[in-house]
């Protein structure tokens, strides 16, 4: 394997010097060759931008609707995806709801990646007593059943999207920290760390330039793979009624609202679920391809 890489590298060497592609450029070039992932990325971009620009796309107020218009089927003129139980345009609510849903997928992962990453780096780099203290403490959180932990936290803090974000963040910290710790332990063995130490660099500097930069890819790929999971968990909590307050739309919550209709108007109920599903599927495809792309670069 290494000979292969080596000779690829050497080939690059032999080429007349063109501008060296940036790191992101290399990854993007790899990523682009994957059709499924590209499709997923396009769909994701469409969903995200549709949600962000919901107010430009939809003529309706997500919270306004006539009760007489309720539960119109998919394909009704004026309501592409039909209307919900209060007579509000479903597409509009899906788009507005997507903002919160996407946020509840992304933000906790971001927060837990920062916190977990930091804890994992500290534990992995310094090891010893501090390291095992941190990791054992996280084990405690980890051995809690995640969804129950989230339910517990949400119950403690009261329902509300903010609290879902908090509980999801807490739940995702231990796995991120584990990944970070393992990655750091791998990197810590590398000779360039020793070289940096022998040049007299401080731990902070070593962590910043050597450790962090080298575990970033793993952390990033792992984190992106968690967004879909987080999105599903958050919507699961919303589905249990622990999420947003009405009339704010959110996918899991909408699914919860419409779930009573599953046997009666199955198509209406399926819509928010499809959005959760498609989004998390696309996220998985993208993160998959990202992980491949990163690996190739390494």
């Amino acid at each position: 394997m290494s000979t292969n890489i080596q000779s690829v590298q050497e080939a690059i060497l032999m080429k007349p010097v063109v501008r060296e592609p940036s790191r992101a450029g290399i990854i993007w070039r790899e990523f682009r060759t994957r059709k499924a992932a590209m499709t997923a990325l396009i769909v994701l971009t469409l969903i995200v931008s549709a949600c962000l620009f919901a107010n430009l796309i939809s003529p309706y107020d997500p919270n306004a609707g006539e009760i007489s218009d309720r539960l119109k089927p998919i394909g009704t003129a004026g309501h592409v995806l039909g209307t919900d139980e209060q007579g509000r345009d479903l597409l509009t609510r899906i788009l507005y709801g997507g903002r919160l849903s996407l946020l509840s997928g992304i933000l906790p992962v971001l927060v837990s990646s920062i916190i977990g990453g930091l804890l994992g780096i500290i534990a992995g780099y310094f090891g010893g007593v501090i390291g095992s203290l941190i990791m054992r403490a996280l084990d405690i959180v980890f051995s809690f059943p995640a969804i129950l932990l989230a339910i517990g936290i949400a119950a403690a803090l009261g329902p509300g999207i903010g609290n879902i974000l908090i509980s999801a963040s807490v739940v995702f910290v231990p796995p991120v920290a584990r990944v970070a710790e393992n990655a750091v332990k791998d990197v810590r063995k590398e000779e360039y760390i020793e070289a940096a130490k022998s040049s007299g660099a401080s731990s902070a500097l070593i962590i910043r330039y050597h450790i962090f930069k080298n575990i970033f890819a793993r952390l990033f790929v792992f984190s992106t793979s968690q967004i879909g999971v987080c999105l599903m968990m958050a919507s699961g909590l919303s589905f249990l009624g622990l999420g947003v307050s009405p009339p704010t739309p959110e996918w899991g919550f909408m699914l919860n609202n419409l779930k009573q209709l599953i046997f009666i108007e199955p198509l209406v109920t399926i819509v928010p679920g499809i959005f959760i599903f498609v989004t998390s599927l696309c996220l998985n495809l993208v993160s998959d391809a990202l992980s491949d792309a990163f690996e190739l670069k390494r």
């Binding site: 394997m1 499924a36 054992r136 403490a137 084990d139 405690i140 959180v141 051995s143 809690f144 059943p145 995640a146 969804i147 129950l148 339910i151 517990g152 936290i153 119950a155 403690a156 009261g158 879909g228 999971v229 599903m232 919507s235 699961g236 589905f239 249990l240 899991g252 699914l255 779930k259 599953i262 046997f263 199955p266 109920t269 399926i270 679920g273 959760i276 599903f277 498609v278 998390s280 599927l281 996220l283 998985n284 495809l285 998959d288």
Partner: protein
């Protein structure tokens, strides 16, 4: 080997203590008073205070914790506040039901993911492999509560093949009836882990297929079957490790599936207990699940150690 397990068991103690403390503290900050689950809304404050005293809720939290811990260590989990039954009577049958569901889901996802994972690792470029990959991704992306609803919609309402809820028909009983009730919840619960396991098995096996020892086996003229045996044996620790985690997740995330299918499992019981502020049940339930989770991982590690001489001897 026994020493290995013994030491690992010792190391669990602080974790479990930590878990129990965290549950306790969490319940402390959960708003809502278990007394309200007992009394009608028009009960007065004096009536509430009386109950609180009787349940020991007026003691300081540390005291309550120690009393509870003492009880647990003696095998007494206390009485459910709301259901007025011993917690064990409430939890153990539910736990049994959850384990049944979880095992079914685990076996289901293990077998299928094994077949698909190995196939896609061996023939990564085949059409079928990319279909399988797509399916496993779909499994990961499918929210299980939604999948559950859809399964009910299709298989119980449209076709009427399987019952939509519970674990026993009224006149039923017997294995056939149970299996029929088990099918849909099993599929719904297994979906996500099926995806994760498939992908994990694929990457483990394809990684192993690139290893030198596999090459040696080929060079020795071993049959593909022998080679597969070696590969699986080597991949088993990693696979079991993930399977163990998945098993834990399955138990823990049973809440949603159990809710949709009205499966009388422990997830439901704990979820209800949380919403009813039935503290003894929540405490015991979460602790039991945490214990199971760590025990499963211990079992996985021990199996790993048993299978891998390098681990066994270190």
């Amino acid at each position: 080997m026994t020493g290995f397990i013994g030491k690992r068991l010792l190391m669990l103690i602080p974790t479990l203590l930590g878990v129990s403390i965290v549950v306790f503290l969490m319940l402390k900050i959960v708003p809502g008073d278990p007394v309200n689950s007992i009394l009608p809304p028009d009960a007065t404050e004096t009536e509430r205070a009386a109950i609180r005293t009787q349940m020991g809720l007026d003691k300081p939290i540390v005291m309550q914790y120690l009393l509870w811990l003492g009880g647990v260590l003696q095998g007494q989990l206390g009485d459910s506040v709301v259901r007025r039954l011993p917690v064990a009577d409430l939890l153990l049958p539910a736990l049994g039901n959850t384990i049944l569901l979880t095992c079914a889901a685990a076996v289901f996802s293990f077998l299928i993911s094994m077949v698909i994972g190995v196939f896609t690792a061996y023939y990564p470029k085949s059409k079928l492999a990319s279909i399988f990959n797509g399916l496993s991704l779909a499994g990961i992306g499918m929210p299980n509560f939604w999948a559950a609803l859809i399964l009910i919609g299709i298989f119980s309402v449209m076709f009427g093949w399987f019952p939509s809820s519970g674990m026993k028909s009224v006149d039923g009983g017997g294995a056939r009836d149970l299996v029929l009730h088990l099918v849909l919840p099993t599929i719904a619960a297994a979906l996500a882990s099926l995806g994760v396991m498939t992908r994990m098995i694929r990457s483990t096996v394809s990684g192993l297929l690139k290893q030198d020892f596999v090459f040696t086996l080929q060079a020795k003229g071993c049959s593909s079957f022998t080679i597969l045996r070696h590969v699986l044996r080597n991949g088993m620790p990693a696979i079991l490790n993930v399977a163990g985690l998945q098993f834990g997740y399955l138990i823990a995330s049973s809440v949603l599936v159990e809710t949709v299918f009205s499966w009388p499992g422990v997830g439901q019981v704990i979820y209800q207990a949380i919403s009813q502020r039935d503290f003894p049940v929540v405490q015991a339930g979460v602790l039991i699940i945490a214990v199971m989770f760590v025990l499963i991982n211990l079992v996985v590690d021990s199996v790993h150690a048993a299978m891998d001489p390098r681990v066994r001897q270190s």
